[in-house]
């Protein structure tokens, strides 16, 4: 394990910004902390970078103790690179000097070669003499990445790296960044509030809420087997339907018994809230269960329907956009989840 964080706590004026946070990140993998703003994910990142002291717990990288209460290896001695949300490029230095800033231990020739290498890596060879204010947002972002990668850090931290970019650029750049990081085999930990970014980039995703890590697992598991109701709510769309567990992977609801592989521990007889993702609700003309189309929003490849059952229950459904159903029409639907995800009703 390259990065080991154990029961980390960081308090600001009595408020736990980060509480009991533990995670492991293997060498060469890309991790991502996902959560709403103010959940403590940036604070966690800053603790790992050494920019914040810790109130409890330990942080180790490469087996070396970096932080614990009363002891802090200063950021300049950690060998951890960081890409800041606002990039924090040095406005008085051109691109080449920005990238070369952390290479002060190399001699002039080696530094020049390394800078040229990094410029090529991020595709900015033609911009070496430009100043930050002459670059677009995406270019600035790549300079920030190249600068952080320059000293060959054991770990790179990225704080909301794409939040200042427009949506289109965000997608393209996140793919590029992933390609660069995997090619170099760099271990990286990113922070974002955007699940698409997290899923596109990360091998491991952690969802944070009010300073606590609710789940730390693969993107697929976070989506299909959310550990808590908060994770289920925060990641992806969906509605909760109340029901009762009637057997392994079987929940009785007003739409009948819903069956699938069980993702969370279900106890027969308990009242639960069942998560239904839009893709779990499929149109089926033969079905006896019908619903009225209350709303439809076009999303390109598919349509997101809001359906209302006779009981007043609202469901979301995703369907290919070729056969569009008019609002107000009635459709037959079938509930067909791959995984049955449900949480105790009192939660």
């Amino acid at each position: 394990m390259l990065l080991e964080v154990d029961t980390l706590r960081r308090t600001f004026g009595g408020m736990h910004a980060v509480e009991d946070l533990s995670l492991r990140l293997a060498e060469g993998s890309i991790g991502c902390l996902l959560g709403p703003s103010g959940c403590g994910k940036t604070t966690a990142l800053r603790c790992i970078a050494g920019l914040e002291t810790v109130d409890a717990g330990e942080i180790r990288a490469g087996g070396k103790l970096l932080s614990r209460p009363g002891r802090l290896v200063p950021p300049e001695d950690r060998g951890i690179g960081m890409v800041f949300q606002d990039y924090a490029l040095f406005p008085h230095l051109d691109v080449a000097r920005n990238i070369g800033f952390g290479l002060h231990r190399l001699d002039a020739g080696a530094r020049r070669r390394r800078v040229a290498e990094l410029l090529t890596l991020v595709g900015l060879d033609a911009y070496a003499q430009r100043f930050p204010h002459e670059l677009s947002g995406g270019q600035q972002q790549r300079v920030a990445l190249a600068r952080a990668l320059g000293p060959r850090p054991q770990l790179v931290l990225l704080d909301e790296p794409f939040s200042n970019l427009d949506v289109e650029l965000r997608e393209r750049l996140s793919q590029q960044v992933r390609a660069i990081l995997t090619r170099l085999g760099t271990t990286a930990l990113m922070v974002t509030h955007d699940q698409h970014e997290a899923f596109a980039l990360a091998d491991v995703v952690g969802v944070m809420r009010q300073g606590k890590l609710e789940q730390w697992s693969s993107p697929v598991d976070v989506y299909h087997r959310p550990a808590t109701r908060f994770v289920a709510d925060f990641v992806g769309a969906g509605v909760f339907v109340s029901g009762q567990v009637v057997g392994p992977g079987a929940v009785r609801t007003e739409m009948g018994v819903v069956q699938g592989s069980s993702a969370t521990g279900l106890v027969t007889g308990h009242r639960v809230n069942l998560l239904l993702r839009p893709e779990d609700v499929v149109f089926d003309a033969a079905s006896l269960l019908t619903a009225r189309v209350a709303d439809r929003s076009f999303r390109g490849a598919d349509d997101l329907y809001t359906l209302v059952l006779p009981s007043g229950l609202r469901l979301l459904s995703l369907a290919r956009s070729q056969a569009q159903l008019p609002v107000g029409s009635t459709v037959g639907i079938r509930i067909d989840p791959r995984h049955v995800v449900a949480y105790p009703a009192h939660a």
């Binding site: 950021p75 300049e76 001695d77 690179g81 490029l89």
Partner: protein
């Protein structure tokens, strides 16, 4: 309109340039031989010394309050601006009065240590440099502090994650990013130093301004004064060019407010050292001088707090209010002129009209009086000696013109920044609602400009109150002000009796500092 408003600043400059184009060779030879070498040497030494010292004090303190954490930081953050309220000539008067051979400190030393005990002479080049630096460092402090604060902790953190420890990051990142603002501050300090008359006069330290004054009043040589003024203007132009250049460099620097900035937490010893340094500067530059001033003022109040004193106060207030009103009206007209007519020529004229802040008061006064006298003679020649004459030469009109020229910049800056916030689309929105012309001015512009107008008027008012050389040279007979009184008492060596008028000046000077600190506390 803009051209008319540019006249008060332009005419003196033209007069001086004109005078140098037709040099009086005999006067010039005398100056070059007996006056210039010493005056140039003194002035350059003074400017150099003050620049170095204000850079060290100003940048150092700015770094401490903007980027570090130490006991009392919040207090020092604004308190270190307080010396702005004490004009250099007041501080000089107190310093000389306190430290001179006959002053309280040396007398006490002699009483304790015997007759041979003495300090190095305060009236020396080093003394002027120190006193003037203590009076002027806030310019550098203010600009550097806001530069350090706006560059954010983020770039410093970035430097640290790239392997630069804080001390090296300060030199490799913080200072270079703040450099344009530091240079602007230093350029302002250079201009103030070149313009200073009062401080150097108190110290009997000969510079261009005192030489001009002496040429004017001592030798009654208009030509000598004008020619000295021209050389001084060359030096000022250098400082002005440095300032303009730095401003163009400052445009591109990113400004990210230091959101949730983490300050550098100093070690225990460094922490108290920082507090000590800040407290020391504040004590020497403000607290102790003010205390001494108050002590002297109280001692002499029974004798000097008389009708004559209230006359001085009244005339100071009258002049300052009149000038402030004129400046606000002129600045408002100028701001609207450039707003309604965005041509290059108009903008250039507006810059010319506000150039007076760079021109030393002695130069400006001489430059205003000479053309006015010329015009008066021309009028007399045409219409014969008549009642026109007193309306121009040696009247309030001349004095007020000089004030407007010198302080237009202050008023215009405040008003113009207010006007720039009223965008075209606000005008259009009002027009769409049927509000135009006078109604637009009354219902939209005036309410929005009110704070800008108040700020412009206040700043101009206070600057005129503190102004000394223009008043000294261009005042009509009998129009002594507080500043003039301070000068007279100081030049007669009656330091203690200068205190009473000086206290009034410092009190008024505190007003803009209060505004400034409140604004910076809001911003922080």
């Amino acid at each position: 309109m803009a051209a008319l408003l540019a006249l008060p600043a332009a005419v003196p400059l033209i007069a001086i340039v004109f005078a140098t184009l037709t040099p009086d060779t005999e006067v010039w030879a005398h100056l070059a031989r007996y006056v210039l070498p010493r005056v140039i040497g003194n002035t350059l030494a003074l400017v150099g010394g003050v620049l170095v010292l204000t850079a060290v004090i100003g940048v150092g303190l700015a770094w401490l309050t903007a980027a570090c954490e130490f006991p009392g930081r919040r207090f020092f953050d604004w308190a270190l601006m307080l010396p702005l309220a004490v004009p250099g000539y007041v501080l000089a008067t107190i310093a000389v009065g306190f430290l001179d051979f006959a002053g309280p400190l040396q007398s006490a030393l002699r009483a304790v240590l015997g007759e041979s005990a003495r300090l190095p002479p305060i009236r020396s080049g080093g003394g002027v440099v120190i006193v003037m630096s203590l009076a002027l460092y806030p310019y550098v402090y203010l600009l550097a502090r806001s530069a350090f604060a706006t560059q954010g902790a983020r770039v410093l953190e970035a430097a640290r994650t790239l392997g630069h420890p804080p001390r090296r990051a300060f030199w490799s990142v913080s200072v270079p990013i703040a450099r344009p603002w530091i240079v602007i501050g230093l350029a302002l300090v250079a201009m103030e130093t070149l313009a200073d008359f009062g401080t150097v006069a108190v110290f009997n330290y000969d510079t261009f301004t005192t030489a001009i004054y002496r040429a004017w009043f001592g030798f009654f040589s208009v030509n000598a004064a004008l020619e000295l003024a021209a050389v001084l203007l060359l030096l000022v132009a250098l400082a002005l060019a440095a300032e303009r250049y730095a401003r163009s460099g400052a445009r591109f620097a990113v400004e990210t407010p230091a959101r949730g900035a983490t300050r550098l937490v100093l070690g225990r010893r460094a922490r108290w050292f920082a507090t000590g340094v800040a407290a020391g500067v504040l004590l020497i530059a403000f607290a102790l001088p003010l205390l001494q001033l108050l002590v002297w003022a109280v001692q002499h109040a029974p004798r000097d707090l008389d009708l004559r004193y209230f006359g001085l106060v009244g005339r100071s207030l009258a002049l300052a209010s009149l000038a402030a009103a004129l400046i606000v009206v002129a600045a408002l007209l100028l701001a609207y002129a450039t707003r309604c007519d965005g041509r290059r020529a108009t903008r250039a004229l507006a810059r010319l009209a506000t150039l007076g802040y760079a021109v030393p008061g002695t130069v400006l006064a001489v430059g205003v009086i000479v053309p006015v006298a010329f015009a008066t003679r021309a009028l007399e020649a045409t219409f014969g000696p008549s009642s026109y004459v007193p309306y121009l030469q040696g009247t309030l009109v001349t004095l007020l013109l000089a004030y407007v020229a010198r302080f237009m910049f202050v008023g215009h800056g405040a008003i113009d920044s207010g006007l720039q916030r009223i965008t075209r689309s606000i005008d259009d929105a009002a027009a769409g609602l049927g509000v135009r012309r006078l109604a637009l001015l009354q219902r939209v512009h005036l309410p929005l400009l009110r704070s800008g107008l108040a700020a412009g008027a206040t700043l101009a008012f206070v600057d005129v109150m503190k102004e000394m050389p223009i008043t000294l040279i261009a005042r009509p007979f009998g129009w002594d002000t507080l500043a003039v009184r301070v000068f007279e008492m100081a030049s007669e060596g009656e330091w203690e009796r200068a205190a009473l008028p000086a206290v009034a000046i410092v009190l008024v000077g505190l007003v803009p500092v209060a505004i400034l600190t409140r604004r910076s506390v809001h911003a922080a």
